[in-house]
Symmetry: none
Subunit: 200 residues, 2 copies
DNA sequence: CATTTCAAATGACATTTGTCACCCCTTTCC
DNA sequence: GGAAAGGGGTGACAAATGTCATTTGAAATG
């Protein structure tokens, strides 16, 4: 019996997916979460065989959960299930050594088949991704990404500095670097560009 | 037997919804569409009792389909099923005299109940909408919205002025007004706030 | 051990934002 | 007809943002 945890913020999809996968004789959906934080907690507690993670969720994204699970060496196999074929997302998923990355416009049947394959030790990636992944490399360093992330929430340079234990000047330098790298003429444009490319 | 057509572009949700609603003894899912154009065609051909429409679909949005069905006086009852509680969307749906507007974070059970109620002649609206649309009125004027929209794409004050035939100073004044109205401390935060509230 | 490399910081500077007070036209409305 | 009201504008000023050159100290590479 393959034990599954589902993390997805749209309740209707989460419920539907849970019910349908539970119908398969060899699957058992043991937990559901509506955000990344809760997903992490449930996975740690229940140690399922598979977890399905949506990317864009409140509090903690599916990619962050995947990275965390990899860090702590969890045995649960991760499958990302998302609408977005953004190369940046894919890249980050690969870095977190996920076992699958599927798109929400496959059928449930495909999903079930992919889960079984992953349990056999294979990795499953949606074909569209391989195509798209002439990935423009994310040029931003980790630090730069953090800075831009906070800036995207409307924080000022000073506030960002306080949060990351940097001086306001250093934050400005990072921002300057970021603008050069993504060829933006100001913060706002940089945010727009990075959102679109999935670098944020 | 209640005949249902589902229009939703995410295949996995469309499939799941179709299967699950079909399990109810009094429902029969007679058609599915992955975009608005196809939905319109199917509805015209099959004349189902109910159609579930997602809003953001390729080619033709669910709102456009709803408006068209109202225009031609179709007998099929329309239920909008979407992620977005944006007052603007809701308003347009009301204009098209839809019979329901539900959010994707209700449960399938709620959805089934809503469909039965609509068949009895009731109208079903997600509670969040009523709250949002009365309480959180978009405080921005048309002009202000335009300015913020352009700013969100990374344009500078000068560029925005050029595009809207305003002086850079006036653009700054608008921006200042916007910041007061949405209680943001800078552009970026204002953009984040307005995006979240669906005012953009 | 010397040499690069790199994250972080500073300081100086030019520009861009954000705030404010006040002006100039039209409309609109007692 | 005169008072508001509202869209658009100006100029002045402070604060934040963006650019750059330069410094420091701690790895990493050789």
């Amino acid at each position: 019996m393959i034990q599954i945890v589902i993390a997805e913020d749209q309740r209707i999809l989460r419920g539907a997916l849970g019910t349908l996968l539970d119908f398969e004789e060899d699957f058992k959906v043991v937990g559901e979460a509506e955000n990344g934080e809760k997903a992490l907690e449930i996975i740690n507690r229940l140690q399922p065989d598979i977890c399905l993670l949506d990317i864009e969720m409140p509090i903690m994204s599916g990619l962050e959960v995947a990275a965390r699970l990899y860090e702590i060496g969890a045995s649960t196999k991760v499958i990302i299930l998302t609408t977005f074929a953004r190369p940046g997302y894919f890249e980050r998923a690969i870095k977190a050594k996920v076992h699958g990355y599927l798109l929400k416009d496959g059928s449930i049947h495909d999903l079930a088949a992919a889960i079984r394959n992953v349990m056999k030790g294979k990795r499953e990636f949606a074909a569209e991704l391989i195509m798209n992944s002439y990935h423009e490399d994310n040029p931003l360093s980790e630090r730069e990404r953090e800075v831009l992330q906070l800036a995207a929430n409307g924080k000022t340079g000073k506030e960002i500095g306080a949060e990351l234990y940097l001086s306001a000047g250093t934050v400005r330098n990072y921002m300057s670097e970021i603008l050069q790298k993504v060829e933006a003429k100001n913060k706002v444009e940089a945010i727009a560009i990075c959102r679109e490319k999935g670098w944020l």
